[in-house]
Amino acid sequence: MSYWRGVMAMVAKDVLAELRSKEALSAMLLFALMVAVTFNLALELRVDNVLQIAPGLMWVAFAFAGVLGLNRSFAAEQECACIEGLMLTPVDRSAVYIAKCISNTLFMLAAEALFLPVFSALFRVPVWSPALWFIVLLGTVGFASAGTLFAAVAMNSRAREILLPLLLLPIVVPVLTAATRSTAQILDGQSLAQYAPWLRLLLAFDIISVVIAVLSFEYVIEE
């Protein structure tokens, strides 16, 4: 019980800090939009090919923006030596991971929720679909759960900002593949039975990723 109280307290702290500064959220949103604009210019999106390109564009924007947010999540703790405070919290180390993972997921989801309407308007892609939101949720959980572990891994190295994407993107290849494919199938109007295999892959990745991260997090931050 006190485990989850600790987790919730840490999440509340992160959310409060983010609500006051809006640092990660605005950076992620702006960057995602910039990726969308860049892609539009680079790939010559037209009405007849938008459904083929839009899913990939959407997930590349999410992934790149997510890396930005994840880099902030531990960097902000380090700047004012708050990470020591977190380590001294009288809870299991995995609670720190779970809390960071939840807040990173929340921030990414918030940025994605703001991004999607703009994306829909810019590219005329219909995003008003609960199935699509579910895929976005699963994909974001997978990305943030692996990403939080790697953000902690990269935290103390000299080239933090460079190392996080280099380590994280190869690991989340399954998430990006499955999310992009199923997004394309949903936009294409296919039924659940057709994209169910991708859904299962996303779910499996989310579970494996959280389990491995919870088990290994204490080794990463033990000082």
């Binding site: 190392l163 190869p170 494996i208």
Partner: protein
Amino acid sequence: MAQRHNDLLQTLVALTAVLVVISLYTVFVVAPTEQTMGHVQRIFYYHVASAWVGFLAFLVACVGGLLFLANRSLLWDTVSAASVEIGLLFSVIALVQGSLWARPVWNTWWTWDPRLTTTLVMCLYYSATMMLRQLGGSEERSARVGAVLSIVGFVNVPIVFLAIRMWRTIHPVVFTTAGFAVAPRMLLALLASLLAFTALYACLLWMRIRVTQLARDISRLRHGLTSRRTL
């Protein structure tokens, strides 16, 4: 002790040399020339052997990482780090050999097939972990983090493969449950090169571990010297 290790290593190197010669003989003399592909098919024997060593090395790195986290002996970290380096080397060799073979046979250097893509992703990931080791803080910390990364990386490989295989594959399948899809004399050449490369891997791993240990000894000695000088 050191002398006995040296003798053992020399025996292993000699054995590897003999195995390599045998494998060269079986690959170029014993194995028949493939009907449609011709001589270029002979890359196959070393291609499979390199890919196998790459995979084995990443497995050893993962096990080394687990053992390091379990009993915190720096030796296991040295094994894990050395194995990552060798695995990366052989995976890149396998990719290059595959490209050389694919150009005449598939009429392209590269295709986004599951095995190719998975190997490439694996190479990129392990390169990043090596970068992290070079940039990351203390020896103890980089050992811990390196262990976690080698475990996570290895667990992830099958998932990456599965994800990409959901598209169609054109990579030839040699090992199936129905037996080997090659002629017996070709199989002999393949087994000879697998054996030779595995022995080569053992030599390289052993030498790499020794180099790391010597480097550690030297830095300790140097540290001792400088601290004595300041006294």
